[in-house]
């Protein structure tokens, strides 16, 4: 998986940077530990958000541009989805991927793929809802103009997406924030596993923080919390920068 490989090369640098910073606080980690949990966190959350975006944005545009009875109800359902407790989603995914569940034969329990599934379920409602709000906020005149100029439905949709891009970017970031910061579902379906040498298999930053807090290692938990905040900040900055470039070009 080249994407995974790319993601995993980044944290090696972060691990090198996090080590000295952590040791200043009297907290030490095994070699490669922090880098590997960052890699798993990014791999799982970015994949889940990418998949969610592929589903959510077209869905939001379709719902936003169409007029149909029950549209208000659909919006309510999507908005409710934003409030899904992550543990409940984790339990539902657990039942699905458990040996006894409908997907049991795929043996997905305690894997990153199961974690991606649960984060996909968690990230999709906020991305859809916020994108929908952004799409609905696009001035009707823009749509009408696109139609009058002979645009097909796809053209109209693309114009609307372009107009709503800031809102959609916000939606994706909100989805990413929800995915990377949640602990309940990835703990249940992922199992918080590392290998014996401390390299993460399904441990994310959030589950690592939970583990440290469980053992009363609050300083270590705080260091990992700071890493998580820095990571989210970095991703947000990159997306914002990327967005500005896109406008300029």
């Amino acid at each position: 998986m080249p994407f995974e490989a790319t993601v995993q090369s980044v944290p090696a640098l972060l691990d090198a940077a996090a080590g000295p910073a952590a040791s200043l606080l009297g907290v030490s980690f095994r070699d490669g530990y922090v880098g590997s949990i960052i890699a798993v966190s990014l791999y799982v959350s970015l994949t889940a958000v990418a998949l969610s975006t592929l589903v959510s944005v077209p869905a939001a545009v379709a719902i936003g541009l169409a007029e149909f009875p029950g549209k208000g109800f659909v919006k309510s359902v999507v908005n409710t989805g934003m409030g899904f407790p992550s543990v409940v989603v984790g339990l539902v995914v657990l039942f699905a991927v458990s040996n006894q569940g409908p997907l049991g034969s795929l043996e997905l329990i305690f894997t990153r793929e199961a974690m991606i599934m649960s984060q996909f379920v968690l990230a999709t409602p906020p991305i859809t809802a916020i994108s929908l709000a952004a799409v609905s906020g696009v001035d009707d005149g823009v749509r009408d103009a696109a139609r009058v100029l002979g645009g097909t439905r796809v053209d109209v949709a693309l114009v609307v997406i372009k107009e709503a891009r800031y809102g959609i970017a916000t939606a994706v970031l909100a989805g990413f924030g929800r995915a990377i910061s949640e602990v309940g579902s990835v703990l249940i379906v992922g199992g918080n596993i590392t290998s014996a040498d401390g390299i993460s298999k399904t441990r994310t930053l959030t589950t690592a923080i939970q583990l440290e807090a469980r053992q009363g290692q609050y300083e270590t938990a705080m260091v990992l919390g700071a890493v998580l905040v820095a990571l989210v900040l970095t991703v947000n900055a990159i997306v914002v920068r990327f967005g500005d470039r896109g406008v300029a070009g």
């Binding site: 458990s98 043996e107 583990l211 469980r214 053992q215 609050y218």
Partner: protein, 330 residues
């Protein structure tokens, strides 16, 4: 990250270990078509189209072990697992849950082996057919810890139940795990033995792991029941002290904390990696690894005492406690 739990077919590498137990495995027609240690290179293509063509033993497979937070958090497993992983070329995925959750995960067929510490729950697990080949693994003990000024005056009490009764009578805060873990189960058994029904403002169920419960007790100046291992590994961070010792330090036997290990029954869950589970049980109960367990320390103190290796037979470790064929109680 691929899991080859189904692809363990020609497990010649583990044949020697497995042969001690393979004869009792239920043959369900799934992956069970394997007379252990036969040595022939027969390839059973029951794997439903998955082309996991492992020709040499169990190499590359993953063993999913569900265990308790009190074992995992001491770091013991990380310390000893490298040896097993290198010996067999496999990966051990250790998932730390409470004893109740660890058994439930195994009951659903989502793990291959369980290492827990609540004999009553283990027995139920075996009686229901989910676990086979149980072995006594190691033990430590529980201790009752509390603030140094000991407002309930339990220090030196030789009876754990008297100590708990004293805490209840004094209405001093007591932190309970409240999470269906082995420690929680032990605590509830102790209250029952003491004839006290805990409840009221002083009794707090936290629903948290042992380390967290110790921290909560520390911050509130409360009493709690802890396994010795977790308490030792965390002692430098908290102000609590041991007020009632367990049997390791000549305390009451009721505070003993034995750990057992069981393979998931492949007759119930045919996807369970039974070969590797039995290899693991063989490995962890071997004299060398039992020695390594006894040498594992935290803050300079031994955390676990091995009990798998013994010259004397102990048949009760294989069956639910008190079971005998004469009584027909199965």
């Amino acid at each position: 990250m691929t899991i080859h739990r189904r692809g363990f077919v020609a497990a010649l590498g583990t044949g020697a270990v497995v042969s001690t137990a393979g004869c009792s495995s239920g043959d369900t027609g799934g992956d069970g078509d394997q007379s252990a240690g036969s040595g022939s290179d027969e390839t059973d293509d029951e794997t439903g189209g998955e082309s996991t063509d492992e020709s040499v033993g169990v190499a590359g497979e993953t063993l999913t072990l569900t265990t308790t937070t009190s074992t995992y958090d001491t770091g013991l497993l990380d310390a000893i697992h490298t040896d097993f992983e290198e010996m067999y070329g496999v990966t051990v995925d250790a998932v730390a849950q409470g004893t109740g959750a660890a058994l439930e995960t195994a009951r659903n067929g989502d793990s291959d082996i369980v290492m827990v510490h609540a004999r009553g729950l283990e027995d139920e697990f075996m009686r229901n057919g989910y676990g086979v080949n149980r072995r006594d693994l190691m033990f430590n003990d529980f201790v009752i810890v509390g603030p140094e000024d000991d407002p309930a005056g339990i220090q030196g009490t030789s009876s754990a139940t008297d100590a708990l009764t004293a805490i209840a009578d004094a209405g001093e805060p007591f932190v309970s795990r409240g999470d269906n873990s082995g420690t929680h189960t032990k605590e509830l058994n102790l209250w029952e033995a003491a004839g006290t029904d805990p409840g009221g403002d002083w009794y707090q169920e936290t629903g948290s792991g042992m380390g967290e419960a110790l921290n909560i007790a520390n911050q509130q100046g409360a009493y709690t029941l802890s396994d010795r291992g977790t308490f030792i590994s965390q002692r430098s961070e908290i102000d609590l002290t041991i007020l009632v010792q367990g049997p390791i330090e000549d305390g009451p036997e009721i505070l003993a904390n034995p750990y057992g290990i069981m393979a998931v029954n492949p007759g119930v869950h045919d996807n369970a990696n039974y070969d590797l589970a039995m290899a693991y049980i063989g490995w962890i109960t071997s004299p060398a690894v039992q020695e390594a367990i006894s040498e594992y320390t935290a803050n300079g103190e031994q955390l676990f005492f091995p009990e798998a290796v013994s010259a004397d037979p102990d048949f009760q470790q294989y069956v639910p406690e008190g079971w005998s064929s004469e009584s027909g109680d199965a």
